[in-house]
Amino acid sequence: MKRYLLFCLSFLLLSCMALPAFAHKPSDSYLKLNVQDTQVQGQWDIALRDLDYAIGLDSNDDGMITWGELRAHQSAVTAYALAHLQILTNQTLCPLKPTNYLVDNHTDGTYAVLRFVATCPQKSDRLEVRYQLFFDLDPQHRGLLQLTSPEQTRTAIFSPDQADQTLALAENPVVQFLQFGREGVWHIWIGFDHILFLLALLLPAVLQRHDKTWEPVADLPTAFKNVLKIVTAFTVAHSITLTLATLGVVQLPSRLVESAIAVSVVLAAVNNVYPLLLGKRWVMAFVFGLIHGFGFASVLADLNLPKSALLLALVGFNIGVEVGQLVIVAIFLPLAFSLRKSQFYQQVTVVGGSVMIGLIASVWLTERVFDLKVLAF
């Protein structure tokens, strides 16, 4: 008894000592699927080491796999791999057809690269993937999937316990809408030029011009009406150009747009010190709002818009911009209204603030026209 146990003990003794931290990379395959309508383009990287264990690649048994040996097994490898993968839409199989047979170097060795195409009978917003590669030979094998569709890229891990997975190809429209809305809010908040333009127009909204000096407006409705006119004009104008630019009707070079935005801020600020368009600030808001719309459009374009969800993105983003703008106004109006009678507001805030806004915008203008970098924002 004791002798038997001793024998039994000795050969597993050290397997406890060697914790897996010293291990190699375990067995993984990398599956990339790219969905376009009813077609799925696939690329599957499978370790030669694993393929050899499964079907034997080393024909001359010299411990080395050559390209000649791998090429000789092309049909066996392809058939074996594709027999362990199924792609379905609406419970119907999309037949897999191999298109290319290559190799690639990964951090832990060389992999065979199988390219294939799956043609599905019909389009769907969900893809079912049934993965069975190597699970019978090595249950610790994992299939790492990267699934790309026009809307998004997502990943999944296949294991024996999760060998069948159904994956959504597009984000839920509500979530997507909210995402673009959030982008719009962020953009107006971090876009100093839009904030300063709006502030330059709004600063005098709680005042009125009388004999070349500023006087406070009498009541809140008057101030509110002034603000409403400016904000509405700005919103209508930039919505028009944002839509036109995003739909590709009008395109303007971005340097021109950015420079024009800087000009708009300068003019709005100067107008507060040397009034050019007295009482017609909403006109200014409208005219220059058209330019700011092109600025918003370039941000939206950078977000890599899904073509299928263009309108959704456009509306979401625009509403986000408006919400961000309203938050600024909601903070500004009560504050300015309560301070409007003070000398500090009329002189320092409006005049001094406008001068500063004008100066900053002039620097931006120089930067943008001559493609320089002076300010950090």
């Binding site: 146990l5 003990l9 397997s15 897996p20 931290a21 411990g63 080395m64 791998l70 994992r142």
Partner: protein
């Protein structure tokens, strides 16, 4: 070693004139947003970078081009025997004695080559019984061994408890459970399990098992002397038993600061055969001794095993003319492991993040997560090193308290305790 966490600290404030101060204030309000954006830009940059770094698939130009080396040696008896057994088992997958024998051989092969694929092959051999609640005892013991190798310590202990209830004479189960307790820092429980081996196994196995946990639990000198004595009196011990005992002696001597004795036992153990655990332990010893050149010589052909590659990269950084070639490879390996959802490499990743990436804060997070799972001296050490680098006494405190309770004797840990006491 970079000991700063400055990148995590807020930017220094200066007295500024009105307009600058105003805009700085505005900027600070937007600081969160801006760092968020910066982070996003870095991420985008990284993803573009990694896309560039990744080679594109290609078609080799010659049939003679060698793509992969499966073995370093030509076909050996071991490989042939494994193939033969695998073939037999595929014909009769329900053959329990054959399945357990093959699984044992795979696990053994996995230890020698440090290739985790063999654990998967062993699991596959046991597939008919693997998901049973009460599989045969032989399967339970093997399942526990495989489970502990993927750090499923709870699952492994459950299996072993079941074995020991049915078969209290199962030495393998006692020793496996003892080692899991030891890795988790549960030294009294480990010693209790080791003591059960006394009447089942050889004196050398029992004392090696005991000295491992006893030396960490406040009895390092006694354990060392006892194990030395037993080893000299058992010339008939198997190679594996001697390898285990000598590796253990070398580790205890290292912790006691007896460098010459440690060196002697490491060399004796290395003469007994290939073992990746031993190579890593000796490399750590050499790194602490500031002998990077010897580590490079020892490990230059061991780049497939992550843990050994890490030590090679650490040594290369310490060379008079530092080399960074293996840092990128390690980064890719850890990324691949994360992509897979593995957490078994957290200790190594923490060491890598602290000493090779110079990111103490990230290293501390990894080390803390790792310490919740395993508490070998190396796990404790990287946590304290990261806490020291971050001047984070809160993170170090529970570890220091625990160390004091365990009375662990380890010169490296004591030096860190001292430094933390002074600096934090």
């Amino acid at each position: 070693m970079n000991l700063s966490c400055l990148h995590a600290a807020p930017p220094p404030e200066k007295t500024l004139s009105f307009p600058t101060a105003f805009f700085n204030k505005l900027q600070r309000h937007l600081y969160g947003v801006r760092t968020h954006l910066l982070f996003l830009l870095i991420l985008i940059g990284l993803s573009i970078g990694s896309r560039v770094a990744q080679a594109t698939p290609f078609m080799p130009t010659s049939d003679d081009q060698v793509l992969e080396r499966l073995r370093t040696k030509p076909l050996d008896a071991q490989t042939v025997a494994l193939r033969q057994m695998r073939l037999e088992l595929s014909r009769s997958p329900q053959n329990l004695p054959l399945a357990t024998k093959l699984a044992q051989r795979y696990i053994e092969q996995g230890r020698i080559t440090a290739d985790p694929r063999y654990n998967g092959y062993a699991q596959a051999a046991l597939l008919p019984w693997w998901n049973q609640a009460q599989p045969p005892i032989a399967v339970l013991v093997l399942r526990a061994t495989i489970r502990q190798s993927i750090h499923d310590f709870d699952g492994a202990v459950t299996d072993l408890n079941q074995v020991l209830k049915l078969d209290p004479w199962n030495g393998q189960a006692w020793v496996t459970r003892a080692l899991i307790h030891q890795v988790r820092g549960e030294y009294p429980a480990a010693k209790k399990d080791c003591a059960r081996l006394l009447r089942i196994s050889s004196e050398l196995v029992t004392i090696t098992c005991l000295s491992g946990s006893a030396s960490l639990g406040g009895q390092a000198h006694q354990s060392y002397q006892l194990l030395q004595e037993v080893l000299t009196h058992v010339p008939s011990a198997t190679t594996d038993e001697k390898l285990w005992a000598e590796t253990s002696l070398a580790e205890i001597a290292t912790r006691l600061g007896q460098q010459q004795n440690a060196e002697k036992y490491y060399k004796q153990a290395l003469a007994l055969g290939p073992d990746s655990y031993l190579l890593a332990a000796y490399a750590d010893f050499l790194l602490d001794q500031k002998r990077p050149q010897e580590v490079v010589t020892l490990l230059k052909d061991q780049t497939r095993a992550d843990g050994l590659l890490l030590r090679l990269a650490l040594a290369e950084k310490m060379l008079p003319a530092p080399i960074k070639t293996h840092v990128t490879a390690l980064q890719e390996r850890f990324a691949a492991s994360r992509q897979r959802g593995d957490t078994v490499h957290r200790r190594e990743e923490a060491i890598f993040t602290l000493h090779l990436l110079d990111q103490p804060q990230a290293a501390l997070t990894l080390a803390q997560a790792n310490w919740q799972i395993q508490r070998e001296p190396a796990d404790t050490r990287i946590l304290l090193e990261a806490a020291l680098a971050c001047h984070d006494s809160t993170a170090a405190k529970p570890v220091l308290t625990w160390l004091a309770q365990m009375h662990t004797e380890d010169v490296a840990l004591q030096a860190l305790q001292h430094q933390l006491g002074n600096k934090v």
